[in-house]
Amino acid sequence: MTFTIDSAPDCARAWEAMPWVLQDNAPAAQKEWLMAHLARCESCSAEFAQQTRLRAAMSLPSDVPLDVDSGMARLLTRLDTLDSETIAPPARRANWVFKALAAAVLIQALGIGALGTRLLSDRSAPYQTLSTPAPAAIAGAIRVVPDPGMKLVDWNKLLHSLGLKVVSGPNAVGAYTVAPAEAAIRSEQSLQQLRASAGIRLAEPVDNVP
């Protein structure tokens, strides 16, 4: 028995319709037409019977032995693995954050080290306060201890009249180091005048001044 596609047009139409009628997916009119055709066409009727048998055979359960329970168990195990892998990424992210922070600290440490090295090597302009010892090289420097009751206005007025300026002090005992504001002023004369002034307890030249 050989099927050829140049069969009668109705048989070709019946051939097209068979799978979908068997599936019950054909329109009602198509199914109705096919049934009418099968009733008068032995060849198509035989073919439809074979198609029906084919569909029944295709619908038989698989004969390949597979246990659904063990398959499901394997799938669940695999999902558990997926879950644990899903949880893992935050740990990996944390690890990266830690490494980034460590790198930042290292860079900062290197920067601080370089800066410290530079500061240690650059001592050309040390910071100095009035309480630090008087510079040794100031010519005509005089150490002066004013009376604690002396007013600031009187102190400033006295220094100004003598052409002196405070270069350091007061130190722990209230002594100031003063020096001529101009090179032309003679420190020895200034010393005598300081000693004679009211409100000055002590006026002595700095020892190392020649």
Binding site: L22, D24, P27, R53, L66
Partner: protein
């Protein structure tokens, strides 16, 4: 002869798809129970479908596992453009082809398993029908077998088969046509006529 169109199968399919969609939505939310229900309801269908590609149980189980592994991860991406069954069969088909490539062979044609499976609980008529079908499917290419399975075994339309196999509808239609011609010309000689005669006896 009854000329009335019965909507029973269509309604059942629609109802089944609605239930599948609800399950898939739950799967997208991480519901393992819903996944298990889907797995169990599709296991037999997938097993039979994949047995048209290979006879090796280990590969079939691996493919079903891969299929639901992907379904678990991609359920949220299902937009309802097709039936859930079409979506799942499409995943299984691609996983099946991939597994066959990985195992270094085309579809396995070893039918030695056929005679070894469950003869004790298989009714004689079913066994005869299986044998007849096996001989017939042997005549087809794997692509033709898949199309026959999807249309006759699973009840998919041409459009759905095209979506599952990711081929043009015209290609699927041609495969179905040629497969049917082969089966029509050769199945009767393989014992179908005797069976058909038996069926026609009141």
């Amino acid at each position: 002869m009854s000329q009335q169109h019965s909507p029973t199968m269509k309604e059942a399919a629609a109802s089944s798809d609605a239930a599948d969609r609800a399950l898939l939505q739950r799967v997208a939310g991480g519901d393992r129970t819903a996944l298990e229900i889907l797995y169990r309801s599709y296991h037999g269908t997938l097993c039979r479908f994949l047995s048209r590609l290979t006879r090796r149980p280990d590969i079939i189980e691996e493919v079903i596992n891969d299929c639901f592994w992907i379904a678990w991860q991609k359920a949220g991406g299902f937009h309802g453009d097709s039936r859930v069954s079409t979506w799942i069969m499409g995943i299984a088909y691609r996983c099946g082809l991939k597994a066959l490539r990985q195992h270094g062979s085309g579809p396995v044609e070893d039918h030695t398993l056929m005679g070894d499976r469950g003869p004790s609980h298989d009714p004689e008529e079913d066994r005869e029908m299986r044998d007849w079908l096996r001989k017939g499917l042997d005549l087809l290419s794997s692509d033709q077998r898949i199309v026959i399975e999807l249309v006759y075994g699973n009840g998919h339309s041409l459009d759905e088969v095209a979506a599952i196999m990711q081929r043009p509808v015209g290609t699927v239609k041609a495969r179905l046509f040629h497969a049917r011609v082969k089966l029509r010309n050769l199945l009767p000689a393989l014992g179908g006529e005797a069976a058909a005669r038996k069926e026609r006896v009141p």
